[in-house]
Symmetry: C2
Subunit: 102 residues, 2 copies
């Protein structure tokens, strides 16, 4: 498995629009066979800071995700909502090791 | 639900010891009724950087977790392994909203 933690800084006042677009992207993403999780979080102490916790079966799944219509629509929709460049950290998994636990 | 993303910087050479202690902590943690997930990740581009992705049912569960023997043992065990202070970000959940999806 591969986990990507994406940090998004959203412009003040655009949080609801960002959430709407991101929930739609998540709906499409979890339907992809290679996507095991796609959690969307909001930092408690920073209303404009969001984290996407994306868990992929393998490298190929990360590439396939970026080719999907829902990802491309999300990327275009949120482009004007970003207060800063998104950052992404790629991780390997220590635990859980079983795919069934994701 | 409440999610905490903990970032741990481990001293070079102590990664295996940190992983061993953290896997044990995770084993105890996921047995707690208020802990829904406890994922342990290693940054691909920074071997000493680890993330704990901890999902709690509510505030009370975060407090109860810190009272457990496995948490206290972990905290003591890894204290000398840390290359820097741990950082923690608390988040609310946008999606998934159903507890069954965690």
């Amino acid at each position: 498995m591969i986990v990507r933690i994406i940090t998004c800084q959203v412009k003040p006042g655009l949080e609801a629009a960002f959430e709407e677009a991101t929930v739609a992207n998540r709906r499409g993403s979890i339907a992809e066979p290679g996507v095991l999780r796609f959690d969307v979080l909001n930092a408690t102490d920073a209303p404009g800071t969001y984290y996407l916790y994306e868990v992929y079966r393998d490298d190929a799944a990360t590439v396939e995700h970026k080719e999907t219509a829902h990802y491309k629509l999300w990327r275009e929709t949120v482009a004007e909502q970003m207060a800063a460049d998104r950052t992404s950290v790629a991780c390997s998994v220590v635990v859980p090791v079983s795919e069934a636990d994701w």
